[in-house]
């Protein structure tokens, strides 16, 4: 399931650790696998386990422990907004309410068109720049007041319509339709 490009990235991660500690690369390997496939299915995690010489259960444990791994399909763009106290004091509660209304979904839900999944996040270590929204784990958007959120949503919606963003969106659409 993993492309040669992903396998090369995983090998580069393995090389960071002592030769007898391949398991140390599991977090990186899962992130790389998720970047390619959108979410971590059991067969995908099993492939990571084989690559690292780990029991599959040890890989599932890691995947389910850390919040940024997707254990099911998501929309093309996963938006995670921090609502913790420092951010809340600087407009994040308004921003979160605005996003929910604008997308028409609650936290943990995916829009019917499969474009967006909305998540409530915990501290991202960027409180001075609140409100903070993370797009697909990698792109941090700061000072996301409602106007800026509208701009971001419009930009990402257009990208989703062009077929960009995470794969797995069709399955997410199906899931949200049930």
């Amino acid at each position: 399931m993993l492309s040669n490009d992903s396998l090369a990235k995983i090998d580069a991660a393995i090389a960071k650790y002592p030769a007898d500690q391949r398991q140390s690369a599991v977090m990186a390997a899962l992130a790389i696998a998720q970047d390619e496939h959108g979410w971590l299915s059991v067969p995908l995690m099993d492939e990571v386990a084989r690559r690292l010489g780990m029991p599959p259960i040890a890989v599932y444990e890691v995947a389910s422990f850390y919040a940024m791994y997707n254990l099911g399909p998501t929309g093309r763009f996963k938006l995670t907004i921090c609502t913790n106290l420092p951010c809340a004091l600087q407009g994040a509660s308004d921003a979160a309410a605005h996003l929910r209304e604008r997308l028409g979904v609650g936290f943990g839900e995916t829009t019917a068109d499969g474009a967006f999944t909305l998540k409530e996040g915990e501290c991202m270590g960027a409180c001075g720049d609140a409100p903070v929204v993370l797009v697909n784990n990698k792109r941090m958007c700061v000072k996301m007041v409602p106007d800026a959120l509208d701009g971001l949503v419009a930009e990402l919606k257009a990208a989703a319509d062009r077929g960009e963003g995470a794969t797995g969106a069709a399955e997410a659409k199906e899931a949200s339709g049930r």
Binding site: Q90, G121, G125
Partner: protein, 434 residues
């Protein structure tokens, strides 16, 4: 990478962050600022490792991650002559709500951290280091990868550094969203490719750390302070602050201030000065409460804070802790029950589930504060909260339990009337924030 924020003015006392524009983060810029001079001097003059540790001790540098443990003393715990691998690890898993200083060091001055870690490796006889970077800051991780490439190419990392015979390799490890990995032994488990669940101590990492080998873990800001200490002397650094509170400290100011951001001040500077630097309370409102050291530390009322200086010992005397230097400011319009509710949810959400008092207790704290906030509080609830806090604090493997309990106690202690009003009348004494 986000465009540089307007807060690159870290204040008149800045040392670590002086002269940073947001664009001058590369190795050549750092060298121009005197970077890597400390490392070059240590290696060319063959300064004995013991002397490096002694200089750090003399500086009164205390851990900048939260616990405030003397760094030189921590370094001296490492068994220098232990045969085999030893590790130096940086904790850049910055997730304590209110704290965002390490992110600025990593993206605007990454070579200060790299130089500090190499010096640490030299002083403690380690040949390998890891920098554990918070999961949510991918672009910062990528910049740190680039900075390591630069340092390798320049010969500051790798085998036989600058022809000295000393070899040291350094790698970044990217986290993926778990507050608990800021706890140093959970962080080690995480690097080992496991769930980030803290280890029982003792043994401490200095004897049984990463891969079971002797390991020292320090915070980003702690390591980044080391080059300045070596360059200018421990005494110079100590004199920047106060006795037992050496140096400057980066304070992350968030919440109800006009200019949230990072400000680097000499330890011992009055809180009032910091508040003024951050533009004062937003909208000219009155100050109500401050959490002076990150969300895990006890909240203090305005009058106490306005009479307090910002250093480890002064904040402790005032009844809280300096922690990571995250200053969360709340103005007169804030409902203390609602503020505590969000924090209690955070600890419930982030408990790793290993110890029963924390796993179950954090849920109790959250649910009881939640019912008070939503007008369903019971007369006995404040006693119940204190009792649950009692049964968590000091009864868990790591400090997350304490971190969940301490805010609850302090909010109730200082704002009891407000909690009572919620319970008796089912609503706030102030209009809640939206």
């Amino acid at each position: 990478m986000n465009a540089p924020s307007e807060f690159l003015d870290y204040g008149p006392d800045a040392v670590l962050m002086a002269g940073l524009t947001g664009r001058n983060w590369r190795l050549a810029d750092y060298v121009q600022r005197g970077g890597y001079d400390a490392l070059k001097r240590i290696l060319s003059e063959r300064i004995p490792p013991e002397q490096v540790v002694a200089e750090v001790k003399k500086s009164s540098l205390r851990g900048r991650g939260g616990a405030g443990f003397p760094t030189g003393l921590k370094w001296s715990f490492m068994p220098r002559n232990f045969p085999g691998e030893k590790y130096v690890v940086c904790n850049s898993d910055e997730g304590e709500p209110g704290t965002f200083k390490d992110r600025d060091i990593l993206r605007y001055n990454p070579h200060a951290l790299i130089e500090g870690m190499i010096i640490g490796g030299y002083a403690m006889g380690c040949a390998r280091g890891y920098n554990y970077i918070h999961g949510e800051i991918w672009d910062v991780y990528e910049r740190c990868e680039e900075a390591l490439r630069e340092a390798r190419e320049a010969g500051f990392l790798g085998k036989d550094i600058l022809g000295s015979g000393f070899s040291f390799e350094l790698f970044n490890h990217h986290g993926y969203g778990a507050y608990i990995c800021g706890e140093e032994t959970a962080l080690l488990e995480s690097i080992e490719g496991k769930k980030g669940q803290p280890r029982f101590k003792p043994p401490f990492p200095a004897s049984f750390g990463l891969y079971g080998k002797p390991t020292t873990i320090n915070n980003t800001e702690t390591f980044a302070s080391v080059p300045w200490i070596i360059r200018n002397g421990g005494e110079w650094f100590a004199n920047l602050g106060r006795p037992n509170n050496g140096g400057t400290k980066i304070f992350s100011v968030s919440g109800d201030v006009a200019r949230p951001g990072n400000y680097e001040l000499r330890l011992g500077t009055p809180f009032a000065t910091l508040l003024e630097l951050a533009g004062g309370v937003r909208g000219g409102r009155r100050l109500k409460a401050v959490i002076p050291g990150g969300s895990s530390m006890p909240v203090l009322p305005a009058d106490v804070m306005m009479a307090t200086d910002m250093d480890y010992d002064s904040i402790a005397k005032a009844g809280s802790m300096l922690g990571s230097g995250a200053v969360i400011v709340m103005d007169e319009t804030r409902c203390m029950v609602k503020c505590l509710l969000r924090l209690s949810y955070f600890y419930y959400e982030e408990s790793c589930g290993q110890c029963t008092p924390c796993r179950e207790g954090t849920g109790w704290l959250w649910r009881v504060v939640d019912r008070i906030e939503h007008g369903k509080g019971r007369p006995e609830d404040l006693d119940l909260l204190n009792s649950v806090a009692d049964n968590i604090q000091g009864r868990t493997i790591c400090a997350l339990g304490d971190a969940a309990a301490m805010p609850v106690r302090a909010f109730i202690k200082h704002f009891r009337d407000e909690f009572r009003h919620h319970i008796d009348h089912g609503r706030c004494v102030v209009a809640p924030y939206q």
